[in-house]
Amino acid sequence: EPPKGGTIAAVENTKGPIKIAFLSFQNNPFWTPVTEGAAAANGYLSNSNATVDFVDLGNTLSAEAVVAGIEGALAKKYDGIVVVPIFDGTARIINEATEAGVPVFNIIAEGAAPSERLAFIGQDATSAGRQIGEYIAKRMNGKGKLGVITGYFGATQHTQRMNGAIDYLKTEFPEIEIVGPFENKDKAEAAYSLTQDMMTSNPDISMIYVTAGGPFGAAKAVKDLGLTGRVGVVGFDHTPDNMQYLKTGEMVGLLDQAPYQQALDASVMLYNYLVAGKEPPSKVIPVVGKLLTPADAK
């Protein structure tokens, strides 16, 4: 029986000890459930003579860090690797690992460039953006002004989330006017200032979309401007900060990526493949994000 929150059961181990490296980052609360998922997988699989070692890639997200992590895992002769590759530039090393007989399971986010990974479980950033776009359109009744704040210009995931929503809105709801995008470098305080300035120059904005870090900064600005109820913020991830504003009403929508489940299931699927050659159900296992609304926060 898989632990609570997991959906995949482990098969019997007939191969002897199995070592899985779980490579992930840690720089904000988003990663906490990822770490917990990896720990749960380790506990669960230890009954089957397998270990899942969590390897921290540090607090700066970059393709180089992922590459160095995979190189290190190969040097340490792990049997399989679960990784959060995020960037385009990681495809090459993933292919190299696969060629060397070490299967790689991608979770959370991967680059656009195709790689020979065993499978990818996660949210497709573009469709996540579209999912949020649909929600935005509904909340705005198809018209009005939408302010957009993105994490880093040029960060693939951020750009895809942004364009997923914007492209959808532009074609389906041309009456919604887009203000921005502006870059907040994942900083809440920058989201705060940007929101303040956007509300100055466009007092009729009714919704603000933050694609990456720091959406609660925008929510706090809405609160400080006394616009709660008139302006709503939508963003990503079920973190304590965000949830607080979902309760008080500045935040009106949060798309969650179920990172705990991704981490746990991916580890078990990789284990199953390693001991029994059992392929994952498909190359891409989409995680449809759960959209949390103020109703969920109550």
Partner: protein
Amino acid sequence: MGGVEAIRALGRQREASVLVMLAAVAIYLSFASDYFLEPRNLLNVGRQASVVAIVALGQALVIIARGIDLSVGSVIGLSAVVAAVLMRDTGSETVGLVAGLLTGLACGLVNGVLYTRFRINPFIATLGTLSVARGMALLMTGGIPVTFGGFAEFVGAGRIAGIPVSLLVMIVLAVAVHIFASQTVRGREIYAIGDNPKAASLAGVNLKRTRLFVFAFSGFLAGLGGLILAGNLASADPNLGMGYELDVIAAVILGGTALSGGRGSIVGVIIGALLMALLNNAFVLLGISAYWQVVTKGLVIIFAVGLDGLQRGAEED
């Protein structure tokens, strides 16, 4: 004529060219956007500049004394986290706030001691504390932001008669530091050790104590900046202030302070911080397209200082 003379004298000041740039951007904005001159918007710009400006006041003294403090961004984060955690755990706001300020001071003292006693180049010493302080903030919180409110939130986000409190704090501090730097003995000694440490020391200026002081002061102001920033967001994120060091140092240098020490003005620092905040405001007000924002920021920085360089002409470095 007195007036012309005064303008000439102003032109010779290093901060003049940044002031010209600031005025140019402001004048342009007042035509290009209907909202720019609204008092509310101007006050927002002031608020947005306030934390960088406050931290830059300390940094300016460090740089004038021929040092550099790269750790300010991390100290912002650590102080905020310490304050928030203690406030949560002890239930006392005072304990939290005082602890936050003391944390900043302590980080500054550590930098100062690493420099004066262990003779570690300040660039490296503060690069080290940059990392250590950030790590400690992450360890204390497990990476999860801590709620932060009360008085700090008032300072960070509140207003008195419509004026942001953090802007008032910045103005008061700027005046105080300006007076300190230009009118007190210690202030004068800071300039002296930046100009020629050996000569200043032989003339009786206590090198170690003065250096320790500027680093401690910079740490303290970074701590204060952290409390304001976290107060503004009502949340102390261990990643708070990441990358601030470059903004802060840029504000100081834009304002005409020489990285080689001995020279610099507090007024210039404030102008530098305002210019950077004004640019961000301009992007939003004018709705400049995404990537051009990045390009424009670079160009304005170059122009602001380039004016000064060209004016000085073949003078010397």
